[in-house]
């Protein structure tokens, strides 16, 4: 009996295939559109993305967007570029906004402007926050569409603030206030060992981003807009790095290099009273912290606060077929519409990419019930573009290494940044 069914299925599919071969069912076939995406924060992100693709495909039966989870940002760009080099590029992929120059140099992506032909499309393209477009445009062209974007924010433990005699409703607003608070928040046991650090800034993976969180309030940019020159040995940059190094010297910040991934956990376990990390962790911390916590804007120094933006953009690959590119464009447009961007922001913790999304009733209500969700948006006006240059991964590594050397005390801040400047100049020589 079972065998019978098996044979029948086999015969049926053979007939179906013959039919396809003869071109009978061909016209109704939706166009396959491969889409690579990474996951960089906690939560059921893959389920959400699959849901978006399904909904889009239902509304657009001529297309079939196929989301392919490709690992971390780093793994995703490796897969996308390898596929591109072998001639089978995905139609679209979400990759770091900072990879823009690399993707242009590889001649892998197509400018978005060519697709936005109607007035409605052009208006939509203008609707994103300018801070997010800073990393998406260069040379008068738009190369990326903001999607899972973020900024750096400061999470603080309100209970620890109360215990230390600090105002739990006010995050430290300047460097001075921040280091004073960190001193008060550092707790030691009878042996003199620290049980709770005042502040923690992670230094693996995104060390350059955290450094930028200190250089931005110090009113200095790390790279020029064209991504061809860096500014590492500027005295203001060295001063910013020194501020970080001094926190460890004073014993209010843990020594050595601090893991990016364990920092939210350190916060939830009360090992650190203040942590500086991406707003993308918000939904995770909200769900898991067993105490009352606050989210503050980045503390200021020379200028008021300000953080680099971060996160990923949609890119459209040049080698994909024209129809696939068009489909990818439609999908990116569909997914960044205000209601969907609002929902995505609540599901993930990322910043919604357009002011219109914050005007939707659902996000308005969410912001009223949970004000920390609006902090990242509120500091966008003073935000700068995330550090990005040509040969980005290589220059970024040079900067990361310099930060780690200074934090570990193997080099002074000044020496570390001077060495990094020299190395970065050498790498960028061919682009100047």
């Amino acid at each position: 009996m079972q065998r019978n069914i098996f044979l029948k299925t086999l015969a049926a599919s053979a007939v179906a295939m013959l039919g396809l071969g003869a071109g009978l069912a061909h016209a109704a076939d939706p166009l396959e559109v491969p889409f690579y995406y990474p996951v960089a924060v906690g939560g059921p992100i893959t389920k959400v993305i699959d849901g978006y693709a399904n909904d889009f495909n239902k509304a657009h039966p001529q297309y079939k967007i196929t989301p392919i989870y490709a690992g971390t940002y780093q793994e995703t760009i490796v897969k996308a570029l390898t596929a591109n080099k072998s001639g089978k590029a995905p139609a679209t992929s979400v990759l770091l906004s900072t990879d823009m120059f690399t993707l242009i140099d590889e001649d892998a992506i197509a400018p978005i402007d060519d697709f936005a032909k109607t007035d409605a499309d052009k208006a939509w393209l203008k609707g994103f926050y300018p801070a997010f477009m800073a990393n998406s445009q260069t040379g008068g062209k738009t190369w990326g569409l903001p999607f899972q974007r973020s900024t750096v924010v400061m999470y603080y433990n309100k209970e620890a603030f109360k215990e230390a005699g600090l105002d739990p409703n006010k995050a430290p607003a300047t460097w001075k206030e921040l280091s004073d608070a960190a001193k008060k928040l550092t707790k030691k046991d009878a042996n003199g060992n620290v049980t709770q650090y005042g502040i923690q800034i992670p230094s693996t993976g995104f060390a350059y981003w955290m450094l930028q969180t200190l250089t931005t309030p110090n009113d200095v940019l790390l790279a020029n807009e064209a991504g061809t020159k860096v500014n590492f040995d500027n005295p203001k940059v060295i001063e910013a790095l020194d501020y970080w190094v001094n926190l460890t010297k004073e014993g209010v910040h843990p020594k050595g290099v601090i893991e990016w991934g364990t920092t939210p956990k350190d916060f939830m376990e009360k090992k650190a009273a203040i942590i500086v990390t991406t707003t993308g962790n918000l939904t995770n911390i909200k769900a898991n912290a067993k105490f009352d916590f606050g989210v503050g804007q980045i503390a200021g120094n020379v200028r008021k606060g300000g953080s680099p933006t971060g996160g990923g953009n949609f890119y459209i690959f040049k080698k994909a077929a024209k129809e696939q590119q068009q489909a990818a464009f439609e999908f990116a447009k569909w997914v960044t519409q205000p209601e969907r961007a609002a929902q995505w922001s609540m599901d993930s913790g990322y910043v919604a990419v357009s002011p219109a999304a914050y005007d939707t009733p659902i996000l308005k209500k969410y912001g009223q019930d949970f004000p920390p969700a609006l902090v990242a948006r509120d500091q966008l006006p003073v935000s700068v573009a995330e550090f990005s240059t040509h040969d980005n991964q290589r220059v970024t590594k040079v900067l990361n290494d310099a930060v780690q050397a200074a934090l570990n005390g193997t080099k002074t801040s000044a020496q570390a940044m001077k060495d990094a400047q020299k190395e970065a100049d050498r790498i960028l020589r061919s682009y100047q």
């Binding site: 780093q74 490796v78 570029l81 690399t102 242009i104 140099d105 590889e106 001649d107 892998a108 042996n191 003199g192 060992n193 620290v194 230094s203 693996t204 993976g205 843990p254 020594k255 050595g256 290099v257 601090i258 893991e259 364990t262 350190d266 376990e269 090992k271 040969d391 991964q393 290589r394 590594k397 990361n400 290494d401 310099a402 780690q404 050397a405 934090l407 570990n408 193997t410």
Partner: protein, 299 residues
Amino acid sequence: MSASSSSIAGSGQRSIHAWLLLLPALVLLVAFTHWPAVATLIDSFYSTPKGARPAVWVGVENYQSMVDDPVFWQAVRNNLWFAAATIPASIGLALLMAVWVNERIAGRTFVRMAYFTPTVLPMIAVANIWLFFYTPQYGLLEQVTGALGLPSHNWLGSPSTALGAITLVAVWKEAGFFMIFYLAALQTLNPSLKEAAAIEGASRWYFFRRVQWPLLMPTTVFVLVNAVINAFRLVDHVFILTRGGPDNATTLLLYHLYEVGFKFWDTAYAAAITVVLVVVLSSVALFQFFVLDKKVHYQ
């Protein structure tokens, strides 16, 4: 005349038959070993193709930039240090464990299995467990040192201890694997040797030094070749535990190669590093097989 021609035809047919039998293996070898090696060598003399810019002949430029690359030299130094620490430690430990579980001890099977466990576990998962051991403030190591009242230490985040921490994981993993070879070799030793030694009244240490150890020499050479290769191809632990940091303190050669090739996309330079790595490793292996091997086999 007819007899000889038919035998030539027969041998021709036989050799075709032989080549056909070899063909599948040959195709695989050429496709996955020989051709990539040759292609890598050729690529190392060209520049990296980028976008619309095709690869051009640059001669030894990639090798020159290797000489000027401080991270490459740091990776070489780290790797030599790592090899010097892991190879003797893991072989010594393997030998010790093998001799021990070769005896009739209680729970022998259990102990053997326990020693071999690190080898069968998936390394990425294991590295994640070790990551937890080393985590400052609540890692296992910190729990122990904290209970003793010692100050907290960031094992993987300090350049002075990070490489040592990775070395420890590697020794732990390798020792169990090498133990299997030693154990197998010990089991093949003739039991009459032990009986003879017992009759002569030789001490256990004397028996090991003069009988077991010399007879284990061929195994030691085999294990040594493997240990050297493993010391230079370790990459998975580095990925999970430190990603080469802090400030390149744990960057090993293969990790540096990965970064250059797949993070920086400088495939030509990566090819040059690969060539150097392959040349060094194969010369070490050849030395071990042709020089050491001759010295250890005797009748």
